[in-house]
């Protein structure tokens, strides 16, 4: 599947088949994530891959936005201790979020291109997830990505173009 097809046909998949994701497939997704751009090429993201069934059930308990149950969850985190030293603290924090989002998008597209569905989860309790994954103090969980073989074919949600795109200058 080429990049354009993957971008256009990817959907947020919220139901998964009860089949594991292979370590080769996980490696593909991780590799896609670390090839994302990052501010100053600092690569301050940290990824925690969770495949233990019980751990995923517990993660779901504290992640209202998590569909599933998925066979695999990738917690995309940031080393804020390192990230915040890039420019001002505020700049570092912003870049950490941008970088995480770009890494996540790479995961989504890479997964879809090989028939793996995914969903980005922003609604989760940071304190509980931090504790469950034994994250050190400076490692901040930013987003969770569920991945698995789709058990549904979600329709394409509407895409807005009116009022979104402006050329040369913003016009009301």
């Amino acid at each position: 599947m080429n990049a354009e097809d993957a971008i256009r046909t990817r959907r947020s998949v919220r139901r998964y088949r009860d089949e594991p994701i292979s370590s080769t497939e996980i490696e593909l997704l991780i590799d896609a994530a670390v090839w994302a751009p990052s501010g100053g090429n600092r690569q301050t993201w940290r990824l925690v891959v969770v495949t233990e069934r019980l751990k995923i059930r517990r993660l779901r308990m504290v992640s209202p936005g998590m569909p599933g149950p998925p066979p695999c969850v990738i917690a995309v985190c940031q080393d804020m201790g390192e990230a915040e030293t890039y420019g001002s603290e505020e700049t570092g924090k912003k870049l950490a979020l941008f970088d995480s989002a770009m890494a996540v998008q790479n995961i989504l597209i890479a997964a879809w291109s090989v028939g793996i569905g995914s969903c980005v989860v922003a609604s989760f309790n940071r304190t509980a997830v931090r504790r469950m994954l034994d994250l050190p103090k400076t490692i901040e969980p930013i987003l969770l990505v569920t991945v698995g073989r789709p058990a549904e074919e979600p329709p394409a949600p509407r895409r807005k173009k009116d009022g979104i795109i402006h050329y040369e200058k913003y016009s009301e």
């Binding site: 919220r14 139901r15 059930r57 517990r58 779901r60 308990m61 504290v62 992640s63 209202p64 609604s123 989760f124 309790n125 509980a128 979600p154 329709p155 949600p157 509407r158």
Partner: protein, 97 residues
Amino acid sequence: MRSTVNDESLRDALLEIIGYSVTSARELLDESPHYGPLRLIEVARRMLDAMVAAGLCQGDPTDLSRRIGDYTTPLHEGEEAFRAYLDSLMIDVLEAF
């Protein structure tokens, strides 16, 4: 009379729902109010799934479970569609009794 329900599985499923509900309550303090109905619907779906797994449902609840889980499409279609979906779902749940 001893129930045929697998008590341990049901307990675990209910604990998961309790965890989900408590976390939802906490997270909703900081999230869009629109998420409130979604979280409640998800609790309903998970409870139904737990009941099915425990053999507590008579008949075939598959369609109801699917209907409860199908909230994303009407949600994306707008508030009117989501309202209509919830109205219709209420009737489906009532008729399931």
